[in-house]
Structure formats: C-alpha cells, structure tokens
Symmetry: C2
Subunit: 445 residues, 2 copies
C-alpha cells in the first residue's frame, strides 16, 4: 500500500478525551474514530490489526476442536426470560422494540441463544462433546464508556460454549480452552496470565481470567513474576491428550496469580519471595467459565444418555475480547513516540521510507523493494509521500510497523539502505539485497 493513497487520517494533537496511552495512540495513528460515546469506526489501519487478532483467535479455537458459527447481534427477549436474566441484566442491556412491538435486545453475550439452539437440535450423547464459538459484535450500554476500545459499548468478542455429558467431560473442555487461550495470547506477543477469578454475573463454579499486566488496567492483581517466564509456544499441544493439557495448566496454576477478589495476602507473602511479588494492575483479555447446568436446566438442554436416560448437559463459556485486545496490546507495547506492534498482529510487516521521492535512484530502489517484498508475501506500507524525513520518521514511530527500510540518496550512492526494527533490536546499514533477504526470512510471529 502506498501511503500517499492509504486512508490514514493521523492526528497531530493528542485528543483531550483520551486518558490512556492506547486510546491516545489509536486516535492519533488513525486507527479508529468515535461515532458515538463508546462506539467506534475502525479505519483501515485499525481494521487490519483487528482482523489479524481475530484470525489468531480463530486458528487457535479451530486447533482446539471448537467449531465456528455465527449468531445474530439482535436476540429475542424471550430466550433471556427463560434463563431469568432479562430482568437481572439491568440498564447495560440495550433493549429494542421492533415495528411489531416485539421485544428484542442487542446481545451482550450469548449463553441463552446458544443453549436454545443446542436444545432444539442436539438429542443424543453421541453428538457430544461439542464446542461451538462465534466472533461477533456485542453491545453493553456502559454508563460511562471510556478508554477507547478497551471499554466501548459496541465491541467484538469471541465467545465459545462447551456442551458435555458429565462433569469430567466439562472439565476436559475447560482445559482445552484454557490451553488454547495461553497459546492465543502468546502468539500475539502478549504475556497473559491466568488468574483464579470470581465467577460474577454469568455464575458458576470455576473460572480463570487471563490478565495482561499494565498500570492502566481495571483490575488489581497479585502474582509471582515467575509466571511471566513460562513458555507455551515452543511445543505443540495434543488437545486429545487430557494429561498433557493438565500438565501445561499446572505449570501456570501452581504459581501464585490472583485477582483482588481471590487474593489472600497471607498466602501471597508466604509462597512468593518478596523480589518476585507483583502487586499492580492488569487488563482482562479473556475469561473461561465452567457453570454446569445453570442454563441447560432452565432452557431444557437435555440429551439421551448411553443408558437411554435423559441427561441435562454440562456447559462452560469462554470469552476473548477481540477489539479490547487491540488496546491491551498497545498498552503493553508502546513508547513515548508511538506503538510498537508485535509481528503477529502488526497492520503491515514492513514500512519502506523514501527519503527523497522524485530522486530517480531512490524511487527505483523503493519500487524494487516494494515489489520484491510483496512477491515474498509481505504486507508492505510504502511512504512515498512528498513530506520531510522528520514527518515520515515521526509517523513511522507513531504507527509502529515492526520493520522499517529507509532509502535515501546518500545511502543509495554507496549501495546501502537502513534496516531497523521499531523495537530497537536492529539498526543496520546493509545493501538492498541483504535487507530484502533478511526481511524475506523474518517470520510473522
């Protein structure tokens, strides 16, 4: 994409309504634009990141054996009456009356609807277990939307629901999702720590939140820093092997990591050496719940068991805040000058900066790099604008593409280009050919 043609309305001023770094940077970098309180348009740069994150979530859900479907945004009030949550949910639920005076609502979550569909379509234990997910926009009418996409009203969420014949099966499903979440966040370059959590309005018996440490987080959290060093991506996982899943989970859960609601100061001090204690804040990016028959009982999600008896199914639900993750990643990955995208979620892989558009040698080298990197399957942003180098460098720092190739008249005369990483780990002067080889070999993460 040529930057001269790309729709990228960056802002020079810091918008005064933005209280936290991710909100500020997303507005300044032209990633999003607010259309009403807590409701955003995703401009092309932001949309690219959103889709990258969504795709990682999808791949790891599929890998864990969940099947993708898509429930609508608008739900009938009836199904929420069956579970009893229609009245309980309060003013956060966006309630709607249609032209025929029927009561509808914009789904804030989907336990009711999926349970209704399951109950109407699945009859036998032979069809279990099932894990079904969708990635769909939700709406919660927050009284005070803030922090940009981190606490918006219309937000994109992945929610998965598991259906099992018994408690043991439900725990197996819970473990699959737990491990898939560890992999999902790690692939995005995030350290998301599973923490025992209160079960809250969804209800249930067992729950973990996945928390990214950040001073701007909403939750107070306590953990042993050792948890940050655990690696989950170096080996693949066999989701059919319950023991292997348990072993991965144990490595995390034996380390102290709790949210405020579950924190016990005495235990923390006893089990974690002082130097390793983290007491701070975190951003919740996912949550896994086991809640048994809370929905399946009132909504009649019953199958015939192997012995011919009716069995009410055991359920769990598993959410990831897809749009919220864009903000959370920026909170974890930025400096004073802008965003520092992890490779796997970056909107582009490489930015080429032409320091002197119109100079024949610069233009030719840039076009060669642009064409070759695209042929190598890279997403390339080419800053071909007629702007001063200072403006280009500042914009490049702001939007934070992981790799940068700077091509200017002086370097080109010596056959050199500058190859840099936005995170500061690489800054080399090399030939164009070497730079292209190194970029072609760089993994997406």
């Amino acid at each position: 994409m040529r930057l001269s043609q790309f729709y990228l309305p960056t802002l020079k001023e810091t918008p005064k309504e933005a209280e936290i770094a991710s909100h500020r940077l997303m507005l300044r970098a032209g990633m999003v634009r607010q259309s009403s309180a807590g409701i955003y348009t995703w401009l092309p740069l932001g949309h690219r990141v959103l889709r990258r994150i969504e795709q990682i979530v999808r791949e790891e859900q599929d890998h864990a054996g969940a099947q993708e479907m898509l429930m609508p945004t608008i739900q009938p009030a009836e199904v929420w009456r069956k579970s009893g949550r229609y009245d309980d949910y309060g003013p956060e639920m966006l309630r709607i009356i249609d032209r025929h005076e029927r009561e509808l609502l914009y789904g804030p979550t989907n336990e009711e609807l999926i349970t209704e569909i399951f109950a109407a379509t699945v009859r036998s234990y032979r069809d279990l277990p099932k894990m079904l997910y969708h990635i769909q926009w939700k709406f919660r009418d927050e009284v005070r939307p803030r922090f940009g996409v981190m606490r918006g009203r219309e937000f994109l969420m992945k929610d998965c629901y598991s259906f099992d014949l018994d408690y043991e099966g439900a725990v197996r499903s819970y473990r699959k999702m737990f491990v898939s979440y560890l992999r999902t966040f790690a692939r995005m370059g995030l350290k998301a720590i599973p923490m025992e959590a209160a079960t809250g309005p969804i209800g249930g018996d067992l729950s973990h939140e996945f928390i990214v440490l950040a001073p701007t987080g909403e939750s107070a959290v306590f953990c042993d820093r050792e948890v940050l060093d655990i690696d989950v991506l170096s080996e693949d996982v066999d989701y059919g092997d319950d023991g292997a899943l348990g072993a991965v989970i144990d490595r995390f859960t034996r380390v102290y990591a709790r949210t405020e609601e579950k924190h016990v100061a005495a235990d923390f001090e006893k089990t974690v050496p002082e130097a390793r204690r983290y007491e701070g804040r975190g951003i919740e990016v996912g949550q896994v719940f086991y809640f048994g028959k809370k929905y399946s009982t009132p909504m009649g999600a019953v199958v015939t068991g192997p012995d011919g008896q009716a069995v009410t199914v055991e359920m769990g639900s598993y959410g990831i805040g897809v749009s919220r993750l864009v903000g959370a990643i920026i909170e974890a990955c930025h400096d004073d000058n802008g965003i520092i995208w992890p490779d796997a979620v970056a909107p582009f892989d490489v930015e080429i900066i032409n320091l002197r558009p119109g100079d024949e040698a610069c233009d030719a080298a840039c076009m060669e790099a642009y064409a070759k990197l695209q042929s190598a399957g890279k997403d390339v942003l080419y800053d071909d604008r007629d702007e001063r180098p200072g403006v280009k460098f500042a914009d490049a720092d702001l939007i934070g593409i992981p790799w940068r190739m700077v091509i200017g008249p002086r370097g080109i005369k010596d056959g050199k280009v500058e190859l840099k990483r936005r995170d500061g780990t690489v800054a080399d002067e090399v030939s164009l050919a070497v730079a292209l080889d190194r970029l072609a070999a760089a993994a997406r993460g």
Copy 2:
C-alpha cells in the same frame, strides 16, 4: 472435518414456513436456524459458505483499489438528521433509545456515517480519489420478512463509497466498481446481469442493479439471453485503465437488460430477436449508484481543490448483499435432491463417504484419502458415521459438496473408489491414487 463430530443439524422434514428452494434447503441442510422473524444464526456449514463469499467480495474490492474499514452497527440519529433521511426512512429503520435517552439506530446503510467521517478527516484534493468499503451487518425492519436469508431483517452487506473531485472522477470510480462486481459474481459461479435501474430511496443519477435470473426473484426483468454468454474472468483487468474498464462495461450495456422500472417493451422487441428474449424474474445481488453531491452537500464533505477553492466532493455507493448471495446461489444451483455448490463458495471441497465404517480396508483407505487431501490443502468432510449408505448419499446430495469420493468394501477389493461430481459431470471408478491426483489438481474456481 469428520461428519460424526461436525455440528450439522440437518432436518428430515421440509419446514412448512419455507416458500422457496433456498430457504428450504438451507434449513434442511443445517446451514441456518431462525432465532426471530428474519433473524438467523449461521450454523457451521452455512457460516463456511458465508465466509467464502465474503472473502471473494473482499479480494475483488481490494483488487479494484477500495480500502477496507469497519463502521459500527449502531449509529447516532444525528447524522441521519443532517441528511434528512431520519424522518424519511420510516418504520424499516430500527430505532433505539440508550440508557441516557440518546437516539440511536441500527444502520440499514452507511451513506451518512461514511460521509461524516470523510468530512471530518479529508481536507485536500490530493487525498482523492478514495474508495472505502466495509462488510458489516445491517438491519432493516421489514414488515414481512420472508424467503429466509434472501429477505431477512439482520443481513450482511458489503457497502463501498467513492469520493471524487469531479464528475469524471466519479464515473471512473463507478466503472471500477461495475467491473469488480462482474468479476465478483462470476467468481462465485453466478451469471449476474447488470441492468439499468431506478435509483430509489438512495437517490441519484446513474444506477445499475446486478441480477441473477431465477423464477423466485422479486424483480421482473427483461433481457437478451446473449448477455449470459459474456465472459469476464478469462482476462485480468487493469483498474488504472479507464478505457479498458469502459470496454468491458460496453460489452454488457449494449445488450438489452432492464428491470421493470426501466423496461420499454417496444425497444425490447425491436432490438432482441424473439428466441433470445428473457422475460422473467431475477434476484438483485448488488447495486451500484452514482449520486453526486446528495450527501456531501448537506454534510459538508468539502475539500480544497488544486486552485485553493473549496470543492464539494462527488460520491457513489456500491452494495453487495453478502448473506443474500448464499440464498441466491442456491436458487441458481440446486436440484430436487439438494444444493449443488459452485466450487468457489462450497463449504468443503470434497466429501469422502465411507460405505462401511469398521471395515478395516475401508477405514484405512478413507483415512489415507482424508489425510492426503488435507495435506494438499483441500477442505474435506469425511462421512465416517455409522449410517446406511442411503442416508449418506441423501445427505451428501442435500449439502452439495462439489466432489465426492465413495469408498466401499467391494470397490476396495478391486483397488477402486468412486469419484463423482455433485453436478453430474464426473462419475468414474478409479484407483485411490488416481482419484487423489485428480482432486489435488482440481481448482477451487
């Protein structure tokens, strides 16, 4: 995907509310399930098709130079007041009041919102032209939703908006979209005919609808059957070459093809030989509009021109009914036994039918085929269920995967499998190795 594990709730009975083939078949094949009038859940099989269609639309929009973004589903009433459409739109607009008593609505289309965003962010002629699109759920509160996803209330639409400095630029953008629509529908295996159309509630000066001929269509249409033979995919198109775009469009527009509103019986009879006249019905799957300054004037979408003067931009909008296309394709591609998916949008490429699960030789051959086809990048559905062959064949006909490989004990003894196309063009007994080679070589379309 093993069919024994796939969430595919097919129906044996034909649902009585379904009046047309696509609605009937989508319900029977377990593709969708209604949750409220005109609002559907996309089950895994239907969701796969929806995503395939969406991806073709996306690729062709990108190819034409449009940039993807994503506007929210919920819009503020204010922007619709600026254009004057808030009151005009009537009861089809789903109006919502939030907890702070602010007026919102579920977007039925996005001319207002995109124009507002454009007006706030683009200042100079140097940023033109721009074509911006999104693929997002819309809501129209139809008084009588019917025909399944063909006329639902919540539906997925791709809408693109063009912004140009002058009329000539706007016509260039119109032509780009026109040609990209021809390619988009052709890639899906559809014959979608561009027809001059009335401009309707969006207003404007120039419009074409893209119509798929089908007896169940909502529009009466008249055309020269010659238009069905025009090929648009055999050559690639250069979207920078306005003359080349014009030539492609001319091949279509010089042939008589009009909707009822624009039809002139005398012209039709004079220009089209009787044997080639089609007078029937059609399904609208896309529409392109040029409407000049209808929105840019009231909403202040103004840029500074090359001479420093303010210029109100010229606009067009371009819609494709993504979810509607699933129904339209089925209307065009089915027989009495079920769906016949065109390769490019099929939910799976190949279905393997094991005629005797439990038979060692059959199981081994099926597993070999399953693994090898997946390695070759194919999406494979493996019917490993413990069901009678008759049930399997009936289900396979119903869900309509393009290729089928039937493996049974008698054939395997002779080293043979049956390789069939759902459309009846292939039905061969060959060795497993030959079958795999042929499938590996088959294009997705």
